[in-house]
């Protein structure tokens, strides 16, 4: 049971989840670049080396494919690794380990092996770090059966979802954001677990459904606030986990609003937003007064220049403008 909340920064909430779980279960360890002596490239694991020692907080050489594989091997024989990618961009050199090995082992072995492993780290664009460091990669991982993909958007969900991910017996990819690590919010103390695969309505509304996750939740909420002043009530649904996907929550909202905008940080082509749009028309087509619309990053590698960067990412203005186009003007 959660007791009364206090305020924590996103990174503190993540740390609390890891620390509490590691206190609970000695088979859990944290491994990654700079997670120990450096206290984490983004200070998520600050103090954990001191607390748990080098055995359970393991600094690695720069070798993502190698230590991702080490995590998989350790999980095969019963440990519960938390593998940190300094950012998800660097997971691409380990892509084969996650897709060919982690995602398939259980199935290939007819259920003989269980892989209770979490891969986590920040993803998406930070500020001005350019194309190779600014990729939102949930779509290329969510495509793969055998993997779960989780993207928390608030400190409370960060703690609750990470605890659920650590306790999950499947490979879970947990995608955070550099830009959100400092974001503060109420976080329940102690046992606070948010089940994977359950979306959360972060703002209720009757006129349009905005489906989003991660960093884009805050863009969407900002847009919803603007729209409210114009008399448009947007319902904002935070998916929280991409795989498993709580499509029912999306359908239920659309049965009420009959309109949907999907806001995604990543690239449009065959992205998660496309999956959601496809599911919507497959299941609640007759409920729609307007086709689902996607608001995503422009279809371009991420530029460095500030003005270009601002154009590439979805912002509140783009989201509200999109909503205005599909919601009949009312009031005001």
């Amino acid at each position: 049971m959660s007791t009364e909340p206090r305020t924590l920064a996103f990174r503190e909430a993540l740390r609390e989840a890891m620390v509490e779980e590691m206190e609970r279960d000695g088979s859990i360890f944290l491994m990654g670049e700079e997670v120990g002596h450096y206290n984490g490239a983004y200070k998520v694991s600050e103090g954990m080396l001191e607390r748990f020692g080098e055995r359970r907080v393991v600094d690695t050489p720069i070798a993502e494919a190698g230590f991702a594989g080490v995590g998989i091997g350790a999980a095969m024989v019963g440990l519960r690794p938390i593998i940190e990618f300094m950012t998800w961009n660097f997971s691409l050199v380990a892509y084969d380990q996650l897709v060919s090995n982690a995602a398939k082992l259980r199935y290939m072995s007819n259920g003989q092996f269980t892989l209770p492993i979490v891969f986590r780290g920040p993803g998406g664009a930070a500020h001005g770090v350019a194309a190779q460091h600014s990729q939102a990669l949930e779509s290329i991982y969510a495509h793969i059966p055998g993997l779960k993909v989780v993207v928390p958007a608030t400190p409370a969900d960060a703690k609750g979802l990470l605890k659920a991910a650590i306790r999950d017996d499947n490979p879970v990819l947990f995608m955070e954001s550099e830009l959100m690590y400092g974001m503060k919010g109420p976080v329940p103390e102690g046992e606070h677990v948010v089940p994977l695969g359950v979306a959360d309505t972060k703002r209720p509304g009757r006129d349009v459904t905005i489906v989003t996750w991660g960093k884009m939740l805050h863009v969407s909420l900002a847009a919803a606030a603007q729209l409210a002043e114009e008399g448009i009530e947007a319902e904002v649904i935070d998916l929280r986990s991409i795989r498993p996907l709580d499509a029912e929550a999306v359908f239920a909202s659309i049965r009420k609003t009959h309109r949907c905008v999907i806001v995604q940080e990543g690239w449009p082509f065959a992205g998660v937003a496309a999956e959601i749009a496809a599911r919507i028309v497959e299941h609640v087509f007759d409920e729609l007064d307007h086709p689902p619309v996607r608001v995503t990053s422009l279809d371009v590698p991420h530029p460095y220049a500030k003005n270009l960067e601002a154009l590439v990412l979805p912002d509140a203005a783009r989201v509200s403008a999109t909503v205005r186009e599909i919601v009949p003007h009312r009031g005001g």
Binding site: V77, N101, N110, Q112
Partner: protein, 318 residues
């Protein structure tokens, strides 16, 4: 010389040889599909190595793993049924030739991406060290794997973390159609180990006793010393890379040269020379192996296919 041991090793090698000959036949009959990579000619490596390890030591192997699976588990029925894609197979028919598993016997696959399992083996050893358990992990791979990034990273991590893993390079001279000298400019794969640095040894992989002794020392070093060890076994595959490969890239002479050091023949001669068994006795052992394999084939033939409605099972933990 321990007579029982020699006969035991002989039995295992013959069983594996006959098993794969039967598999090759079943493949031509269409009972086995996809890729079938035979180990024929290399039996002394897996048999010698696994005979030197404890049953509790972990085994991580490649897509050419029938021998390792049989040497560890003796499960001819589960292996053949897996090749036949049957529910009774050691992977329920989901894995096929390249993906054998037996969690109970600590046989951890059966991996088909070259090099990809090397870090995984290091991770299994990491777990043993983490838990303070004495188990060593044996990781098998081929000569052609030495240029893969995952091979490098796996060895580097095992070295820096001092993990109890024995890397066993089955140098059968070829990666598919590519002779080693065309992709490796050093004489021995083992040279690569020095750069980590890692203790290493080179052994005649066609001499099962030499293979066994070298592995015994390597495993002991890993278990007691808590360090990885690199073992390179020189051997040869008599058949093509897989059933699809006619192996035209090798001369008859070259193949014959190696067939002259057929590990089973060599061990048989030694057994006879030592007066441990007569040629007739060895023939009997061979016949027993053939019979066991026939039983496995019959079992596989008679076994049911996987339940169609089980197709979505085991993607995730239920």
């Amino acid at each position: 010389m321990d007579a029982e041991l020699l006969l035991h090793l002989y039995r295992q090698m013959v069983l594996i040889r006959r098993f794969e000959e039967a598999a090759a036949k079943a493949y031509t009959q269409g009972k086995i599909r996809g890729f079938l990579h035979l180990y024929i000619g290399q039996e002394a490596v897996a048999v010698g190595a696994l005979s030197a390890a404890a049953q509790t030591d972990y085994v991580v192997a490649t897509y050419r793993e029938h021998a390792h699976y049989l040497a560890r588990t003796g499960d001819t029925r589960g292996a053949m049924a897996e090749l036949f894609g049957k529910a009774t197979g050691c992977a329920g028919g989901r894995g096929g030739s390249m993906h054998f598993y037996s969690a109970a016997d600590r046989f951890l696959g059966g991996w088909a991406i070259v090099g990809g399992h090397v870090p995984i083996a290091a991770g299994v050893a990491f777990a043993s060290k983490y838990r303070g358990e004495p188990d060593v992990t044996l990781c098998f791979f081929g000569d052609g794997t030495a240029n893969m990034g995952a091979f490098h990273e796996g060895l580097a991590l095992a070295s820096v973390w001092r993990l109890p893993v024995v890397f066993i390079c089955e140098n059968n001279q070829y990666a598919m159609g590519t002779p080693l000298y065309r992709t490796l400019t050093v004489e021995d794969v083992a040279v690569r180990a020095r750069g980590y640095p890692m203790e290493c040894a080179i052994v005649n992989g066609d001499d099962v006793l030499e293979m066994r002794e070298a592995t015994r020392q390597a495993v002991e070093r890993a278990r007691k010393g808590g360090v990885p060890f690199f073992l390179e076994a020189k051997t040869y595959r008599f058949r093509g890379h897989s059933m699809a490969d006619p192996a035209k890239y090798r001369t008859k002479e070259e193949v014959q040269q190696w067939r002259n050091r057929d590990p089973i023949m060599l061990l048989g001669q030694r057994i006879e020379a030592l007066g441990i068994a007569t040629p007739e006795r060895l023939k009997e052992l061979d016949a027993e192996a053939v019979a066991e394999v026939q039983d496995a084939v019959a079992f596989a033939d008679a076994s049911p296919e996987p339940e169609p409605d089980s197709v979505m099972r085991h993607v995730y933990v239920d």
